[in-house]
C-alpha cells in the first residue's frame, strides 16, 4: 500500500532531515512511526502526503509514485496533521462538505458518513458552528471525520491523539483498528509508546533521519517493553 524507497530529504543549508529511508506498509497494517522530536517523522509524513516535494528516492502509494502521480495518490490517502488548522470562516459542516466535494462524494453517502462519525465523536450538535469557535480537540475531530469521509485506502496521521479527550481517543483507536481490519492501512507518528504497543502490528523507529528498526511489533520488542526497546535503540544509535 505504501512503499518508501530510499527517501532522503535535505533542507536548504545542508541539514539532512531524513536519510535513505525505506519502509513498506501493507494492507491491514497499523504502523506506528516513533522517534524523538526532530528525528524526521513529520518530514517523512509531509513527503508522503505531498506537502513536501521529494527530491531523492521515491514514495509509492498502491504502486503509483507520489512524484509523478500526485493527484491519483492523494485520492487514495487521507491525512490528519498534529495541529489541524482549518478554515475558520466556515462551519464544521461547510468544511466537511468542501472536502466531500473535492472527493466527489454523493449527497447520500456524505450524509451517512458525516452523521455517523460526528455522532461517534460527539460533535454532531456543533457542526453548524463556525470552526473559529472550536477547541483544538474539536478541530482534530473534524479533521478526522474529513479524512475518513471519502473511504481512503491509506490513513496518514501525525500525532492523532494530541488534544483529544479520553472518550475521543478511545473512539479513534477503535476506528483505526476497524479501518485496518477492513483492509485499510494506517501509518501514524506518536510519542505515546503504550498506545503503539497495544494498538499496532508493526512499528518503525527513526533517529536523526535514519530508520533504526522496523518490523512486526512482537519481533522488535521480543520479551521487553516498547519503551525499553526504544530507549535502548535510540541510545545505542548515538
Amino acid at each position: 500500500m505504501l512503499s518508501i524507497k530510499n527517501f532522503t530529504k535535505t533542507y536548504p543549508g545542508g541539514k539532512v532531515a531524513v536519510k535513505d529511508l525505506s519502509l513498506d506498509v501493507n494492507k491491514g497494517d497499523l504502523v506506528a512511526f516513533i522517534g524523538h522530536n526532530g528525528a524526521g517523522k513529520t518530514t517523512t509524513i509531509k513527503a508522503i502526503v505531498g506537502i513536501m516535494p521529494i527530491e531523492e528516492g521515491d514514495i509509492l502509494i498502491d504502486g503509483l509514485s507520489v512524484k509523478s502521480n500526485s493527484l491519483e495518490c492523494k485520492r487514495m490517502i487521507a491525512y490528519v496533521p498534529d495541529n489541524p488548522d482549518l478554515y475558520e470562516s466556515l462551519t464544521g459542516l461547510q468544511y466537511l462538505n468542501l472536502i466531500c466535494d473535492i472527493y466527489k462524494i454523493s449527497k447520500e453517502k456524505r450524509e451517512e458518513k458525516i452523521v455517523t462519525l460526528s455522532t461517534q465523536f460527539g460533535i454532531y450538535d456543533d457542526l453548524n458552528n463556525f470552526i473559529s469557535a472550536y477547541s483544538h480537540g474539536m478541530k482534530q475531530k473534524i479533521a478526522l471525520i474529513a479524512a475518513l469521509a471519502h473511504d481512503p485506502k491509506l490513513l496518514i496521521l501525525d500525532e492523532p491523539f494530541v488534544g483529544l479527550d479520553p472518550l475521543a481517543a478511545y473512539t479513534v483507536k477503535n476506528i483505526m483498528r476497524d479501518f485496518c481490519d477492513n483492509g485499510g492501512a494506517i501509518f501514524f507518528s506518536t510519542h505515546i509508546l503504550e498506545v503503539a504497543e497495544k494498538l499496532c502490528n508493526k512499528i518503525a523507529i527513526i533517529k536523526e533521519g535514519k530508520l533504526v528498526i522496523s518490523g512486526k511489533i512482537e519481533e522488535v520488542i521480543k520479551n521487553e517493553s516498547l519503551e525499553d526497546v526504544f530507549l535502548e535503540l535510540t541510545e545505542n544509535a548515538k
Binding site: 506537502i51 516535494p53 488548522d85 466527489k104 449527497k107 458525516i114 453548524n128 463556525f130
Partner: protein
C-alpha cells in the same frame, strides 16, 4: 516602563527579522528596491503637490495679503485625510493577539502589554505621516516669503509636533471604532461579516469626507476673496485647529491639539487594557438541520474564498476600492460633463488632441485602470497561511485552486464592469458598447491572473495576522500595479505616435487583442512554471 520597551524591542526585532530572513534572495532584493522607489515616488508626489499649492497661494497673496496662509490649510487637509485613512485601516485590522495569553502568564502588567502594542502601531503610522506630511511644512517655510528665521523654525517645530501627535489620534479613533463594531457584531452569529460591512460603511464615509474636502480645496483655488475661502476652510473645525496651531501656535489651539490627541489616546489605551483578553464567546447554535449538497470542487473552493474574503475587513478594504472608484467614475461620467473629467489631460502639452477629440478610448483606459486596482488574487495564496496544507494534501489540481481564486476577483469586478459599460453606452452610443465592456473586462481578468503569478513569485505563509500579507507583503504591493503597468504601455505608445497611424476604434480592437494575448501568455505561464512553483510551496 522597562518591560514595555523590552516588548517593543522584541516586536521591532521580529519585524526586522522577517525582512532580514530574505535578504539573500535576489527577487526579494529587486522587490525591496521597487518598494523603496515607489515610497520615494509617493513622498515626491506629496511634496510636489505641496509645492504647487503653496506657489499658487503665494501668487494669490501678491494681491490678497494673507492668502499664503491658505497653503497651510491645504497641508492640514492632507493631514486630516491621512489621519482618517490610517484610522480606517487600523480599525479594519482585527488583531489576533496570539501572544497575549503567553505574555499575560509572564510578569507583565496589562498596561505594559497594551502600551507596547500601541507604540508598535504608532511607529508605523508615524513613518507614514513623516513621509507624507513633514515635507509640506518644509515646502511652506521655504516658499512663503517674508518669514523670519525664528518664524520658520517655529512653524517647522509645530509641524514636527503635529506629525508626532497625529498618529496618537489615529490609534485612539481606531480602537474606539473597533470597540463599537465589535459590540454590534457580537450580537450576530456571523461576526466577521458584520464587522466587514461596518468597516465598508466607515470607508464610504471616508470617501464622502474626501470628496467634501476636495470640493473645498477646488472652491478655494477658484475663488478670489481670501476671507470667503478662509471661512470655507474654517467650516471644518478640526482643520481650522490644525491650521491655526501650525501657523500661529497660540495656547488655545495647542490645548485643543492636546485634547484631540493625548486625551483620546489615553482613554483608548485604558479601554484596550480593560478589554485585553476578554473572551468574546461566539454565538453558538445547536445543529437543527444539516444541509448536505454536492457541488464541483471549483464551486466549493470559490464559495470558501468568498466567505474568507468577507470575513476579513482589511482584505475587503484593500481591494474593493478599485471597484468603488470604477462605479464612482461611471456615475461621474453619466452625471457630469466629460470634458470636466478628462479635461486634466488638456493641461499636459505633450499629449495629442485625440485624447479629447475621441474621448471614448481615454475614458475606457481610465475605467480599466480603476478596475485593475480591485485585485484579490495577489495575496490569496499567501492568505491560505496555515490552512495551505488542506490544498496540498487533497486531490485538487493547481488549475482548480487558481480558478477559484480568480473567480473571487471576477465576482467583485465583472458585475460593475458589465453594468457600467451598458449604462455608459446610453451616453456614448451603443456602437461603443463593445469597447466599454470588453476592455475593462479583459483588464480585470488580466490583473486577476497576474495577481496569482505574482503571489506565486512572492509567497508569504509565516504570518500571524492577515495584515502582514494584505498590507505589508511584496506580492500585495506589486500585484496592485501589475495590471496598470501592462495596460499603460500600449496606451502610451498610442498617445505618443500610433494615433497618427490608426483611428480610435482600430486601436481599441488592437488593444483588446493585446490584452487577450497577454492573458493567454499568463495562463500558459501559470500552467507550466506556475504549476511547478505551486507544487514547491
Amino acid at each position: 516602563m522597562r518591560n514595555s520597551f523590552l516588548l517593543i524591542k522584541n516586536y521591532v526585532m521580529c519585524f526586522l527579522g522577517s525582512l532580514i530572513k530574505n535578504k539573500k534572495n535576489p527577487k526579494y532584493i529587486t522587490a525591496a528596491i521597487i518598494f523603496m522607489s515607489f515610497s520615494a515616488i509617493i513622498v515626491g508626489a506629496f511634496t510636489m503637490t505641496a509645492v504647487t499649492s503653496t506657489t499658487m497661494f503665494v501668487q494669490i497673496a501678491a494681491n490678497n495679503p494673507g492668502a499664503e496662509r491658505l497653503a497651510m490649510y491645504g497641508n492640514c487637509s492632507t493631514a486630516l485625510m491621512i489621519m482618517l485613512l490610517l484610522t480606517i485601516m487600523r480599525s479594519a485590522y482585527t488583531s489576533k493577539n496570539t501572544d497575549v495569553v503567553f505574555l499575560l502568564s509572564m510578569p507583565f502588567k496589562k498596561s505594559e502589554i497594551v502600551f507596547s502594542k500601541l507604540f508598535y502601531n504608532y511607529i508605523f503610522d508615524l513613518l507614514t505621516v513623516i513621509g507624507v506630511l513633514l515635507p509640506s511644512y518644509i515646502v511652506y517655510i521655504t516658499l512663503v516669503p517674508n518669514l523670519t528665521s525664528a518664524m520658520q523654525a517655529q512653524i517647522l517645530l509645530r509641524g514636527v509636533l503635529l506629525v508626532l501627535l497625529l498618529p496618537l489620534l489615529t490609534n485612539a479613533l481606531a480602537i474606539l471604532i473597533s470597540y463599537i463594531i465589535e459590540k454590534i457584531a457580537s450580537l450576530f452569529r456571523n461576526k466577521s461579516l458584520i464587522r466587514t460591512l461596518f468597516i465598508v460603511v466607515v470607508c464610504i464615509a471616508y470617501i464622502i469626507c474626501y470628496f467634501y474636502l476636495q470640493m473645498l480645496i477646488t472652491g478655494a483655488s477658484e475663488g478670489s476673496n481670501v476671507d470667503d475661502i478662509t471661512n470655507m476652510f474654517n467650516a471644518l473645525w478640526p482643520m481650522k485647529i490644525l491650521a491655526l496651531f501650525s501657523l500661529d501656535g497660540d495656547l488655545p489651539s495647542l490645548l485643543y491639539i492636546v485634547l484631540l490627541t493625548i486625551v483620546p489616546f489615553t482613554g483608548a489605551a485604558w479601554l484596550k487594557t480593560k478589554l485585553l483578553f476578554v473572551d468574546s464567546n461566539n454565538v453558538q447554535v445547536k445543529s437543527k438541520k444539516l444541509k448536505f449538497k454536492q457541488h464541483s470542487a471549483t464551486y466549493t473552493l470559490f464559495v470558501k474564498e468568498l466567505k474568507y474574503y468577507f470575513s476579513m475587513p482589511i482584505y475587503v478594504l484593500n481591494t474593493i476600492l478599485g471597484a468603488v472608484m470604477y462605479v464612482a467614475l461611471v456615475v461621474a461620467l453619466l452625471v457630469l460633463d466629460v470634458d470636466g473629467i478628462i479635461g486634466y489631460f488638456r493641461t499636459i502639452p505633450s499629449l495629442p488632441s485625440i485624447i479629447m477629440d475621441e474621448p471614448i478610448f481615454t475614458i475606457v483606459v481610465l475605467l480599466s485602470m480603476c478596475i485593475t486596482l480591485c485585485v484579490t488574487t495577489n495575496t490569496s495564496i499567501s492568505l491560505e497561511g496555515k490552512n495551505f496544507w488542506i490544498l496540498k494534501v487533497n486531490p485538487i489540481s493547481h488549475r482548480t485552486v487558481f480558478t477559484a481564486k480568480v473567480l473571487l476577483n471576477l465576482a467583485l469586478t465583472v458585475i460593475p464592469v458589465v453594468l457600467g459599460g451598458f449604462v455608459l453606452s446610453f451616453k456614448f452610443g451603443f456602437i461603443n458598447l463593445w469597447v466599454l465592456i470588453l476592455i475593462p473586462l479583459a483588464s480585470t481578468i488580466l490583473s486577476a491572473i497576474a495577481g496569482i503569478y505574482i503571489n506565486l513569485l512572492y509567497p508569504k505563509f509565516d504570518w500571524e495576522s492577515e495584515d502582514a500579507v494584505i498590507k505589508r507583503s511584496m506580492s500585495s504591493f506589486l500585484g496592485l500595479f501589475a495590471g496598470t503597468v501592462i495596460i499603460i504601455i500600449p496606451v502610451l505608445m498610442y498617445w505618443s505616435t500610433w494615433y497618427k497611424l490608426i483611428d480610435v476604434y482600430s486601436m481599441s480592437a488592437l488593444f483588446i487583442g493585446y490584452l487577450f494575448i497577454v492573458i493567454s501568455l499568463l495562463l500558459v505561464l501559470l500552467d507550466t512554471r506556475g504549476k511547478k512553483m505551486f507544487e514547491k510551496l
